[in-house]
């Protein structure tokens, strides 16, 4: 009797497992880093599912997650190849070296999604990313325009605090900073840099086209003293030092301009400045990622004790995913991979596609509403947005 029961149970298990399995041959494989991270599960993962399902027959696909484990990542790539994938879209957990080798050994095209995948001798065939240089340019342009509107001139300079991302986060942080400097550096004479001694005016003028190793070294040397480590603690500590230096200085009739590399550091920095004895009259601060607190600020809520952020760069993951899928589709259709996409300069030898970025500012609340809330990217029911009156935009 016991034996029969256990046999039945075993059979049930086998059948049950077989039922949730999915054994079809595939054309496109997707490997994402971690199913337990919001970004990969609910954004990239969900968008890939939607985009690839929409392609329909002839573009069978499968999405796998690597659980933050590089060996699992290679295992996933190998599994997809064994199931017949011709193209693999990969966001690498580490350098992605093992995955590149595995894919190329089997003559499978590899698309690096958002993060470059390369080994010492080989690299992904395609790379989809946001143009980090343009992200930085958008931040710099915002500060430049607003400063000119505020009437800052060589004679009446405005205060500017400059912060950068983690220098070691190459190439992203350096590209953000370089882009911002392309806009700011020519007009630095209308600013008074308050957080560090000015090493920026002496910088050469670099554009994305003229960027080279010398530019990288010069920019990174300038970034070092204002490195926030992408960490709000570090950013706050650095801002506290400036606030302490300003002491009792009365700034209540002046605006403050802050070049902050992303929303988290931006919030931390503004928070420190807001605690001054005589705080600045107004703030112009940059950021990227469209974090909730930032969005609240952009929609007109002066978030208590957190100051005001006036712009952020929103990198729409849906557009990135759409680009990766487009390349994969082109390859299956035997077209050149970048057909119908904005190509950028080749990065690390891979053909690069740049996904469009959106600049959100406090002056165009309707735009922010349309891009973020109307599309359902964020829910306006979140507690952070409880003070905002939505009626004008709906």
């Amino acid at each position: 009797m016991k034996k029969i029961v256990s046999l039945v149970l075993l059979a049930l298990l086998v059948v049950g497992l077989s039922a949730c399995g999915d054994s079809k041959k595939i054309k496109i494989g997707v490997v994402l880093p971690d199913a337990s991270e919001e970004r990969w599960a609910n954004q990239d993962g969900a968008f890939f599912l939607a985009e690839l399902t929409a392609l329909g027959e002839g573009y069978e696909f499968e999405i796998l997650f690597s659980e933050g484990d590089e060996s699992k990542e290679v295992q996933n790539v190998e599994a997809l190849i064994a199931k017949g994938a011709e193209v693999i879209i990969l966001t690498a957990e580490g350098s992605g070296a093992g995955a590149v080798q595995a894919a190329h050994q089997a003559d499978v095209i590899l698309i690096a999604h958002d993060r470059m995948a390369k080994s010492a001798t080989d690299h992904a065939d395609y790379y989809t990313t946001f143009n980090s240089w343009n992200v930085g340019k958008a931040m710099g342009l915002h500060l430049k325009t607003e400063a000119q509107n505020e009437g800052c001139t060589v004679d009446s300079k405005c205060d500017l605090a400059i912060f950068a991302g983690r220098v070691a986060d190459w190439p992203n942080a350096t590209y953000f900073f370089g882009g911002a400097m392309e806009e700011l550096q020519p007009v630095l004479n209308i600013f008074n840099i308050i957080n560090v001694s000015d090493t920026f005016s002496g910088l050469g003028f670099y554009t994305e086209a003229t960027f080279n190793d010398a530019a990288k070294n010069a920019l990174q040397a300038a970034m070092l003293p204002v490195d926030t480590d992408w960490n709000s603690e570090t950013a706050a500590t650095k801002a506290q030092a400036v606030v302490a230096q300003l002491g009792d200085a009365d700034k209540s009739d002046q605006p403050l301009f802050v070049l902050a590399p992303n929303d988290d550091t931006s919030t931390a920095i503004r928070q420190e400045f807001a605690e001054m004895t005589h705080p600045y009259e107004s703030y112009y601060t940059t950021g990227q990622d469209a974090a909730n607190i930032t969005l609240a600020s952009l929609m007109g809520d002066p978030v208590k004790g957190k100051g005001v952020q006036t712009m952020t760069v929103f990198k729409d993951v849906r557009k990135l995913v759409a680009d990766s899928v487009k390349i994969a589709k082109n390859i299956i259709d035997d077209k050149p991979g970048l057909t119908g996409l904005t190509s950028g300069p080749s990065i690390d030898g891979a053909q690069t596609a740049y996904s469009p970025i959106d600049t959100l500012t406090i002056d165009n609340k309707q735009n922010t509403y349309d891009i973020i809330f109307a599309t359902g990217y964020k829910s306006k029911n979140d507690d952070t947005f409880s003070n905002i009156n939505w009626t004008p935009y709906e």
């Binding site: 075993l10 298990l13 086998v14 497992l17 077989s18 949730c20 399995g21 999915d22 054994s23 079809k24 041959k25 199913a35 499968e62 796998l64 997650f65 659980e67 933050g68 484990d69 590089e70 060996s71 699992k72 290679v74 295992q75 996933n76 190998e78 599994a79 190849i81 064994a82 199931k83 957990e93 580490g94 350098s95 070296a97 093992g98 590149v100 080798q101 595995a102 050994q105 089997a106 390369k118 080994s119 010492a120 001798t121 070691a168």
Partner: protein
């Protein structure tokens, strides 16, 4: 003619009985093979047989390599009643050490690995001494080691991913032995397969001859032939599978070499017997002149050396070293050892079975990825399998050997005795019942009779249960 048919049927019946007897008797050893077969069949059905395809089978063995090597060392650690939690990060650290030495300091691979070997031997020595001499529980010593080497790993990699460029890593990680393709099949792999087949065949026959010469009883001929046929089938299938993909990878080769060496050490050398003796009963081992301290130190050093091999395999396969390497390696190795039937109570555990245990674990990971099952389910299944394996081990620990052929004969021979015993038992039981019902005065006497009858019956039953085929050589059926 009728007689002949009868004889054939009898032979088949006898063979089946023998086979079932062997399975029942050695269920402890075969449990995980059965589990493996179930897993293989399940995933094959789930994946439209892609799971068993040459490419995936090659992948599976490459993926298993680093866990297998660790599991081999871990088996010995657990056999001696210890545990080693540090090997994951030690392996990752040593991998990083070798990569950094080769890539950043331009030290030749040989010297880099020699350096790592010295480090790992020293570390093993220290671990062993802490455990054996100072008597700090191995759990604590190696937990400390785990933290320490996580730190060393981060220092060594400077918190960055360092890619490998040296061709050494390339060949170890993703290289295959040279191949000669004939019609899409690698002749060299097939040749190695044939040599293995012959070695198994000749080795088996020579072993039987030696046993006969020394007067050690051989296992039954039917069993010997069955085992041989299964092994030959497995080897043929594996060599054909590998041959029709890319041949034999270096990862597989290293794994096999490690397993063969450790199988030899544990089954054929004094050191091996000492390790099992220390695990079975440390006090008895010490009293019989075995140095428990020395044995433990050797076991920890061997674990460290295997961690080095495992670490180098891992960085080679991933073509980089990174501060994120290391977590869970030791836990997979421990799980593999337990799934492979290594006993937590010490003294029991086979090297080859630990490798089968690692293949079970990796098949789960590989199969789930292949079948597109939600990755979150995998650890749940793995945990279930591990628990089942250990429960199975406990349940089968006291299984007595059984021979159904012997029982078959015994039932015939003792059938009269059995009949008499049963009827006497029934009579005694009925009389006892009656006496109790009617409240007779002679209840004690009846009870005495009943117990006696019961004893006689059980004796006969036991006799039948424990019968062996060779006790009935002279009986004709």
């Amino acid at each position: 003619m009728k007689n002949f048919l009868k004889k054939v049927l009898w032979l088949i019946y006898k063979y089946l009985l023998t086979l079932i007897s062997m399975l029942r008797t050695n269920i402890r050893d075969y449990g995980m093979y059965i589990a493996l077969i179930v897993i293989f069949i399940t995933f094959s059905i789930m994946t439209n047989w892609i799971f068993l395809s040459p490419i995936n089978f090659t992948n599976l063995f490459n993926q298993t390599a680093y866990v297998s090597v660790l599991a081999v060392g871990m088996t010995l650690v657990i056999v001696t009643r210890q545990i080693d939690l540090s090997v994951g990060y030690i392996g990752a650290f040593l991998g990083a050490f070798v990569v950094v030495a080769v890539e950043n300091q331009s030290i030749p691979v040989f010297f880099a690995i020699a350096g790592a070997l010295i480090i790992t031997i020293l570390v093993g020595l220290v671990k062993g001494l802490f455990v054996a001499k100072i008597k700090v529980p191995a759990f604590v010593v190696t937990l400390a080691g785990m933290f320490i080497f996580k730190g060393f790993l981060m220092l060594q990699t400077n918190n960055r991913t360092i890619p490998t460029t040296n061709p050494f890593f390339r060949s170890v990680g993703i290289g295959y032995l040279p191949t000669i393709q004939v019609g899409g099949v690698d002749v060299i792999t097939l040749g190695i397969g044939v040599i293995l087949l012959l070695a198994l065949l000749i080795g088996g026959i020579l072993g039987r001859k030696k046993h006969t010469k020394l007067g050690i009883p051989n296992e039954k001929l039917e069993l010997f032939i069955t085992k041989l046929i299964i092994m030959l089938a497995v080897v043929s299938y594996l060599s054909w599978t590998f041959a029709s993909h890319r041949g034999i990878s270096y990862l597989l080769l290293i794994t096999v070499v490690v397993v063969v060496i450790y199988h030899f050490i544990t089954t054929k050398t004094t050191l091996g017997r000492r390790i099992y003796a220390v695990g079975g009963n440390p006090d008895a081992a010490e009293l019989s002149g075995i140095s428990v301290e020395k044995t433990l130190v050797i076991v920890f050093i061997s674990m460290g050396i295997l961690a080095l091999i495992s670490g180098v395999m891992y960085v080679s396969r991933l073509q980089n070293t990174s501060p994120n390497h290391g977590p869970f390696w030791e836990l997979y190795a421990i799980a593999a050892a337990f799934i492979g039937g290594t006993s937590a109570a010490g003294g029991v555990g086979k090297i080859v079975n630990a490798v089968i245990g690692s293949i079970v674990i990796m098949s789960l990971k590989n199969g789930m990825a292949l079948a597109g099952v939600d990755a979150n389910i995998e650890p749940i299944i793995l945990g279930g399998v591990l628990l089942l394996a250990v429960v199975f081990d406990i349940f089968t620990r006291n299984v007595k050997s059984i021979d159904y052929v012997g029982i078959y004969f015994a039932k015939k021979v003792y059938s009269n005795d059995l009949k008499i015993a049963i009827s006497e038992f029934n009579i005694a039981r009925d009389e006892l019942k009656k006496a109790k019902k009617e409240n007779q005065t002679n209840i004690i006497e009846r009870e005495y009779k009943f117990t006696n009858a019961q004893g006689t019956l059980n004796k006969i039953k036991d006799k039948i249960r424990n019968s062996r085929e060779d006790e009935f050589k002279d009986i004709k059926i």
